[in-house]
């Protein structure tokens, strides 16, 4: 059975004066209805780029996109990469929606929250202006904004950060889309508000049976809401697996490093953090071979210097857990144990 969104071999690059920025390289992932896929990576890992491509939000002139991203809609599949711009536009907001990191700048400062939500509704529904505001109020109520009927007439700057993000969600969901792409939706928010928003997303997913793609750098957030995780590094997916696969059976040295570098609130004794040395690579001049190789403490363990010369393939060691590393998962495990 095919999943709702199937992204296959997606390449996104931007030609610039300094060279081609290869932001997304042979990226493949999929997400089903009711499922949450987290895409994890640091800044510059290309984690947002492929999703913007799915939404058709890249500047068509300045972006080169190849590969496919198929939405399996009720009336048949559509490849949003090859479809016409207008076709993709008609899917935006209706079949797939997106929310962004900074809800302040993502909302138009000059229009009321209600108007902005109603505008999205009017695109795909017939109704009077009044109906639109009514629908907007309904949605605001749904996302937990108290006194929604009067708050609908407020402007974004009159909302708090958390409420703005709720309003963004209300706007994204007003046409009942099957896919919600949430790009760092809680990064700009305080922790107490973050947990509210994450809970809201979970509740709404249940209610609407949505597929959610959560783009984030925060492993804590991922651990709490994701079903599957794709870890990205240097524009490539380096590891892809279930939450437990990634957190308890990581097969890529980068994933491992990332997990180790996060201080854990539950850890009893404070220990020295195991930082990953070096800097993330530039997408313009990726290292040859494995992009992580310059920072990888295990690269010397691979014979014949393959790490520096050959890009490892994203291989499935069974059970749908994929990793892009020259080292075998078992070998990696042994090396980690040796070190400890």
């Amino acid at each position: 059975m095919s999943k709702f969104l199937e992204v296959t071999n997606l390449n996104v690059s931007f030609p610039t004066e300094d060279g081609e920025v290869r932001a997304s390289n042979e990226v493949s992932y999929s997400v089903g209805l009711g499922e949450t896929l987290a895409i994890v990576g640091e800044s510059g890992s290309g984690k947002s780029v492929s999703n913007l491509a799915v939404m058709g939000l890249h500047n068509p002139v300045r972006t080169k996109i190849t590969g496919s991203a198929v939405l399996n809609l009720a009336d048949g599949p559509v490849d949003v990469i090859s479809a016409s711009a207008d076709t993709v536009r008609r899917l935006r907001g209706k079949s797939m929606s997106m929310i962004f990191q900074d809800p302040m700048s993502a909302l138009h400062p000059f229009f009321t929250i209600g108007d902005q939500i109603a505008e999205a509704w009017h695109l795909y529904n017939k109704g009077s202006k009044k109906d639109g505001i009514k629908k907007a109020t309904e949605m605001l109520d749904l996302v937990g904004i108290p006194d929604a009927a009067s708050r609908a007439h407020d402007y974004p700057h009159q909302f708090s950060g958390g409420m703005r993000q709720r309003a963004m969600i209300a706007m994204a969901l007003v046409n009942n889309p099957s896919l919600l792409i949430a790009d760092e939706p809680t990064t700009a928010l305080d922790v107490t508000v973050q947990s509210q928003i994450l809970q809201l997303l979970k509740d709404l997913q249940k209610e609407f049976n949505m597929a959610i793609i959560l783009i984030t750098h925060d492993l804590g957030v991922v651990a709490e809401v994701a079903d599957r995780i794709c870890v990205m590094y240097g524009g490539r997916i380096v590891e892809d697996g279930t939450v437990d696969d990634i957190f308890y059976r990581p097969e890529h040295p980068y994933t491992l490093g990332l997990l180790n570098s996060v201080p854990r609130i539950t850890a009893g004794e404070s220990h020295r953090l195991r930082a990953i040395p070096g800097q993330p690579p530039s997408l313009i001049s990726l290292p040859s071979g494995c992009a992580f190789q310059p920072r990888c403490e295990y690269s010397t363990k691979v014979s014949s210097g393959a790490c520096a010369s050959t890009v490892p393939s994203l291989s499935d060691k069974g059970s749908g857990h994929l990793s892009r590393c020259h080292l075998d998962a078992a070998d990696l495990n042994n090396l980690v144990k040796d070190k400890a």
Partner: protein
């Protein structure tokens, strides 16, 4: 020599809330910091946490005398610096340094790294042993940067490296206290760990004291000896790190901790979560009684009318709550 490098006694900082225009009078005041008592011991790291708008950054800046305190007392290294003027603060400033959140805007883009770091010497008219350049190179080495890069400009460095430059600058005068205002929150996860480790190492090497202002509880837990939790300008709870995280006494601390996502799915799934309702009230018009009462699930009538006393629960732990957790 006193035991504490820094003592804040009932520190208060109010900002006038203006409505604009030259004839408008102040409409009220933002009670950014409202009666904060806090100590930082020598060689100790005190984490100052809370959500945005809780006043933690204002505390840091008031300590540095970047803001004039409205009332209260700041004692640094045994000396009351509350009412010192700019000139009198100058010798103090060399012993008290600040690291900022944004490594992009806190470094002058037109100056080389060497100039930026050596400015600490020139401002205070200090000639370090072996000359300024030698000292700068040593500092660069110390924070893990290539000393050969002394003549490069800030934009030639990555975010983490820039934060290292900021740290090198603050270390130039061998300070006793460093106020670190969200020093890693602008950095990527893998880089955050590098900087946190660096701060750890430097503390061990120089016996530094840190007042570590951050919103990221996991980082604070990792680096701090003691943690102070603030909410709407007031200290809610203060405790040794382990105590605080293992056994939070203030409902707000508890909610805050439970809201922090844990990078461990199993724990995340199993633990009980407290999701606070609503948003932070406005600091211009804070709730009466306990400032947390509007979001507190344990709030009673008394919470809405009486400001809770700060209770000493154990020698090192205080909490300001009518109904602390047990």
């Amino acid at each position: 020599m006193t035991e504490n490098i820094l003592e804040l006694n009932n520190l208060t900082k109010f900002f006038p809330a203006k409505a604009g225009g030259i004839f408008s009078r102040a409409k009220g005041e933002v009670r950014a910091v409202d009666g904060v008592n806090l100590t930082v011991g020598r060689g100790e790291t005190v984490g100052l946490v809370g959500e945005s708008g809780c006043g933690k950054t204002t505390v840091g800046r008031t300590v540095m005398k970047l803001y004039e305190p409205t009332s209260g007392q700041i004692v640094f290294d045994g000396q009351d610096i509350t009412n010192l003027d700019r000139k009198e603060m100058k010798p103090i400033r060399s012993k008290m340094q600040m690291i900022f959140q944004d490594p992009f805007s806190s470094l002058n883009p037109r100056h080389t790294v060497g100039t930026i770091i050596s400015s600490s010497f020139t401002i205070h008219d200090i000639e370090p042993e072996g000359g300024v350049e030698h000292a700068v190179r040593e500092l660069l080495t110390l924070v893990g940067l290539n000393p050969e890069h002394i003549n490069r400009f800030p934009h030639e460095f990555s975010g983490g490296q820039r934060q290292r430059i900021g740290i090198a600058r603050s270390l130039a005068l061998k300070p006793k206290l460093i106020v670190a205002d969200e020093p890693v929150s602008a950095l990527d996860v893998s880089i955050q760990a590098q900087v946190v480790n660096l701060l750890d190492d430097l503390q061990k090497e120089f016996g530094l004291s840190y007042l570590f202002v951050a919103h990221d509880l996991s980082i604070v837990q990792h680096i701090s000896d003691r943690v102070v939790v603030m909410y709407l300008g007031k200290v809610m709870e203060m405790a040794p790190t382990r105590e605080l995280f293992a056994n939070p006494r203030h409902p707000y601390t508890k909610a805050l901790l439970s809201a922090v996502p844990v990078a461990d799915p199993k724990i995340g799934r199993s633990r009980e979560r407290i999701i606070l309702q609503g948003d932070l009230p406005s600091p211009v018009n804070p709730p009466s009684g306990c400032v947390f009462n509007t979001r507190c699930w344990k709030a009673q009538d008394i919470c809405r009318s009486v400001v809770p006393e700060t209770i000493q629960i154990s020698p090192l732990q205080t909490v300001a709550c009518h109904f602390p957790e047990v």
